[in-house]
Symmetry: C2
Subunit: 339 residues, 2 copies
DNA sequence: CTTCGCATTGACATCGATGTCGGAGTTGGC
DNA sequence: GCCAACTCCGACATCGATGTCAATGCGAAG
């Protein structure tokens, strides 16, 4: 438990000034290769690690990136976190995770406090809070770089990273149509989410292009939760002429539909095909396993970190409005079958 | 995007010295109530928030607490995080989440770098890494306060927080026995986990106390994963004289058993009772819903934060070896029924 | 009325790094 | 052979807070 090694210790041991050590640590130009190597050797020898606080204080940069969630208890959040963490480490950043409760009375104040206290180098916003304008305004106003995941709504100066939800939903719908289904129900997510809207649109357009009518009663509301999926399933499956397939806008709701079907002894996929979206871990724990769309959330998060860690993106002012689209994958499993 | 308000600004506006403002912000003694109130008013007016980096640098305290995970993608991790975050906010701390890959070649080095760079005020360790001695040694050596969750192994100077896994497993086993089951199988977790061992012991003792023999083949290995639960289910249920109940050491594995049973058209709970442990979110998404033991992970995490935030616990040296036990709850749902 | 003690306050150094700037040494073009 | 330009490096101030310590003011004790 000796006091940590400081830059002065290194400087003394290497016979140079602290400033030179600093230059070496930051890979700046104008250091003779011989000196650089020598310093690096001493650094390795003493196992010197610059103090992030001191660095931040003097350079007014930060080595902390914020990851803001509304619901950190979802598999989605976990996946994003994993991807972000791995990439952070690569860039020498660390991840500060905060729960943002949109309905909490003091949430904005808390965020404000966090921002000023930690001077975050950037923030990653996930749905649904990425579309909360009070929050994005606050971040903009402080000039903090922001990347939004799973939302293609640019609006503010934030970068956005997403998959092509619209096309993915079309693909999935086409999958069902190709299997011979014509009576297809859809369980919506929270319609104010950008992605949820795109998924619904993809479904509708696929149906329209195939010349299949959409029955009003078969478009059910939902909020991405298991419970709402079950309720939707109950509504859809309660009559005798239920559809032959249900497309839920995410896996949790699909699971709800699955349970609702089990409740009624409707065999899946024999009497009913159920498909989801996201490829959440639970989609493999269901019975039968869910056909779904793999949304590579960890990859989305890595890309977000890459953007935030990019020095050219750190400058305040006019950040380029970037929009990155990441490819998705169709995952065929056993919950869908021929009509 | 004006520069942030500093302590000097407040001092000037209030007509006092920065030091006095500092005293007020830290609730130190020796400030006249009138002055204190006045300063607080100015602080509120200017919306001043002390810079955490500067604070840490000068006081060599830290406002960051580390939360270390092996597998951040589990529901368990999410729950812990939520509890920890809420409590951190209450104490004015922030949570830095790091994934610790025990098998990664440079993991210890990474951790070491993080520790020195961030000077964490404390670290929360979750299973299984809470029992990784190389890691705990590293933390001890740096004098960083540690709290371990879900492990009652004290060993080092760390505090431990856990439920009574042994008694909970006995309760659950008694529940099955009371329902009339005598042929009961058990799916183990990773035996090196402290909690997993306790759960097995609880099961065995409950059986022994009831005078019921344990069949060797019905104690199956597992690693807490869904997949391993399914494999265990396959092994247990493949013969015609399968047990009438299966107790899995966590919910994910119980779900695996459930799927294995569905695969064989064994009706649950009619022909087979399946119970789990943890009350993970998925336990409610299963069909039928799982009977389980609620382990209040968020509460465990809050307690951990309370301990770490306790100033008396911050001092290096001889920390009291604390061990806190938190109550669990039996949750009866529909996956278990009379034999 | 003096003196001691305590509560209150501020001046100044400090934490560990980086920004600025200027000086010394080198190169190169004329 | 001289001046410009450039490379390399260190002295010093600075970031925004807190620790230390001395100065001040006040009431109570002598």
């Amino acid at each position: 438990m000796m006091p940590p090694v400081t830059i002065k210790d290194v400087a003394r041991a290497a016979g140079v000034s602290p400033k030179t050590v600093s230059r070496v640590m930051n890979a700046e130009a104008h250091v003779r290769p011989a000196v650089r190597d020598h310093v690096l050797r001493v650094v390795a020898e003493l196992d010197y690690r610059p103090n992030a606080y001191a660095r931040s204080l003097s350079s007014s940069r930060s080595y902390l990136i914020g990851l803001f969630f509304d619901d950190p208890a979802s598999g989605y959040a976990a996946e994003v976190q994993l991807g972000a963490m791995a990439r952070c480490r690569h860039h020498g950043y660390h991840l500060v995770v905060e729960r943002i409760d949109r309905d909490g009375p003091e949430t904005l104040d808390e965020v404000s406090r966090t921002l000023q206290a930690l001077q975050l180098a950037g923030v990653i916003l996930t749905p649904p809070i990425c579309d909360w304008s009070d929050l994005t305004d606050l971040l903009d106003q402080r000039g903090i770089p922001v990347v939004k995941l799973n939302s293609s709504r640019t609006g503010s100066s934030a970068a956005v990273i997403h998959i092509d939800d619209y096309q993915a939903a079309r693909d999935m719908t086409d999958h069902l149509i190709t299997l011979g289904h014509r009576d297809i129900a859809f369980v919506q997510g929270i319609v104010s989410h950008d992605a949820a809207g795109k998924r619904l649109a993809g479904f509708c357009d696929a149906m329209r292009c195939a010349g299949i009518g959409i029955r009003e009663a078969w478009i059910q509301a939902g909020d991405f939760s298991f419970r709402s999926g079950m309720a939707a399933g109950d509504a859809i499956l309660s009559t005798n002429d239920h559809p032959s397939a249900v497309f839920a806008a995410n896996d949790e709701m699909a699971l709800g539909v699955l349970v609702s079907a089990a409740h009624r002894n409707i065999a899946v996929p024999k009497a009913l095909s159920v498909v989801g979206f996201d490829d959440a871990p639970i989609s493999r724990m269901a019975w039968p396993q869910l056909t779904t769309i793999r949304q590579p959330n960890a990859v989305l998060a890595s890309v977000a970190i890459d953007i935030l860690a990019d020095p050219s993106y750190q400058q305040a002012g006019d950040r380029p409005a970037r929009s990155v689209q990441v490819p998705y994958t169709f995952i065929g499993r056993s919950s869908s079958g021929p009509a």
